[in-house]
């Protein structure tokens, strides 16, 4: 029985009727599937407790959205999504179920645990982390290092970085210009990365210099299965 992995989506508007929708890149569902999970999407923003009760793990996805009319994707929708993702993260934490945060998901988790964010850091730091690639250095003892080694290229698609890291979190990867690129929780089954591992799989890894990230999803789904066994007392 595959662990059920709940994924969050981004706001979108369909082209035909401009009706409010959620969208998810197929790279996420394909990666969860490759990792051994059964992907599903949380569609009701009030039902976070129910999703936490029925699923075995949570993937907080990166920011994405689509609108044929930019005015439809207002700031209030971003606020709605942030509130929902932080609420569903808390619900999964309370249920003792694993969470994988990707890009925006990493940022949401840092906020949930009490850290803060640094938007548009490129303006102050003078570094580019949007639509590029760069190397990272992993921390000893981390899952990321066990799976992929001490240093490698990853994709980079973000304008916001972690400001203050929440005290319960441990840095597991850093960029050469000092951006926190991954963390784990000290005790809880929570892992997160600032890059997009779901876009680094199969025949079209992005960047081509990076490792295939399927093992990260295998490890996450295995963690979900392990926690499930533990909960069921096996």
């Amino acid at each position: 029985m595959r662990p059920i992995i709940c994924i969050t989506g981004g706001y979108a508007f369909d082209r035909q009727f401009h009706s409010k929708s959620l969208t998810l890149n197929k790279t996420y569902t394909a990666a969860v599937t490759a990792g051994g999970g059964l992907p599903t999407l949380a569609l009701d923003f009030d039902a976070f407790d129910e999703y936490a009760a029925m699923a075995d793990g949570l993937v907080l996805s990166g920011s994405q959205g689509f609108s044929p009319d930019p005015s439809l994707l207002s700031d209030s929708l971003h606020t709605e999504r942030n509130q929902f993702e932080q609420a569903i993260a808390r619900a999964f934490l309370q249920a003792g179920k694993p969470i994988l945060g990707i890009c925006l998901g990493l940022q949401q988790l840092n906020v949930v645990f009490g850290g803060d964010l640094h938007p548009n850091f490129k303006l102050e730091d003078g570094v580019e982390h949007m639509m590029t690639k760069h190397t990272i250095e992993t921390a000893e003892g981390s899952l990321i290092r066990r799976l992929f080694g001490t240093g490698f290229y990853i994709n980079s698609r973000h304008n916001v970085k972690i400001g203050t890291l929440a005290p319960e979190l441990v840095v597991t990867a850093t960029s050469p210009d000092g951006v926190i690129e991954a963390f784990e929780h000290k005790t809880l089954p929570v892992i997160a990365c600032q890059w997009h591992p779901e876009r680094m799989r199969g025949d079209f890894p992005e960047p081509p210099e990076g490792p295939d990230m399927t093992p990260l999803f295998e490890s996450f789904v295995a963690l979900c299965a392990e926690e499930k066994r533990r909960r069921c007392g096996e």
Partner: protein
């Protein structure tokens, strides 16, 4: 515990762009009726999705490929964009939920999938094949374009067939929105027509014995002066609750 309602994901803003997109109208309609909406993605896990959920909701969307009901396109002009992965997922889930005796509710394309999954056939183009100018706002069937102004719904009435299950839920005559150019031609095994438009186009179907039904219109969507209609969703979630017990 709320019944878990599986909603089939839609392919992209245009087909094969690598995204899933799912209207929140569907989720809201399921939630307000007391269900927990969940989205299905991958045909390779059809069996696992049947185990996971208590009922299946088939959404609207582009035309299915006509080979599903035994036809081929003889002329290029007949071909509308279709998604093989969406067709695969819809049909695999519909057949498995029916086999498992779990409730299925389809709207728009979803009703057509239910009909074809049970052996029925479709008109590929109502106007061309029946001669009826069935009210439709001219939903784009090709060339989805971000700059296209949103289409408006057309409306017409439907007469609900007395004695059907849907007659216990809907009024004898209902005003409905209309946004389709395909329609049920022949009914699938065990299905009966539960409502029809004034031009005779079948607008709702239900099964004689299985807990499945569908409507050609979109009750989840507020359109013009018509609010969204929760009655069919309440009925569906009720069927799912019954099926669990």
């Amino acid at each position: 515990m709320k019944p878990k309602i599986l909603i089939v994901s839609e392919d992209g803003f245009a087909m094969d762009t690598g995204h899933f997109v799912i209207s929140l109208d569907y989720g809201k309609a399921i939630s307000q009726a007391g269900g927990l909406p969940l989205v299905a993605f991958d045909v390779l896990h059809a069996d696992a999705y049947v185990d996971m959920a208590d009922g299946l909701f088939l959404t609207g969307g582009p035309d299915m490929h006509c080979y599903r009901y035994g036809e081929i396109y003889r002329d290029r002009s007949e071909i509308t964009p279709f998604s093989r992965t969406r067709d695969d997922l819809d049909f695999a889930l519909c057949q498995r939920f029916l086999q498992a005796g779990k409730p299925v509710f389809g709207v728009g394309r979803g009703m057509q999938v239910l009909n074809v999954a049970l052996g029925g056939t479709l008109y590929k183009d109502i106007a061309r094949e029946t001669g009826s100018p069935h009210p439709d706002a001219g939903a784009p069937t090709s060339g989805f374009d971000a700059t296209t102004a949103p289409a408006q719904f057309a409306f017409h009435t439907v007469s609900v067939q007395p004695g059907t299950r849907l007659a216990g839920i809907l009024d004898p005559v209902e005003k409905v929105n209309s946004c389709h150019h395909e329609a049920v031609r022949t009914l699938g095994d065990g299905l009966i027509a539960a409502a029809a438009a004034p031009d005779g186009i079948i607008e709702a179907i239900e099964h004689r014995t299985l807990p499945c039904f569908g409507v050609q219109w979109h009750p989840e969507r507020a359109a013009g002066s018509l609010p969204c209609d929760g009655r069919l969703f309440t009925h569906f979630v009720h069927l799912c609750k019954e099926a669990i017990q």
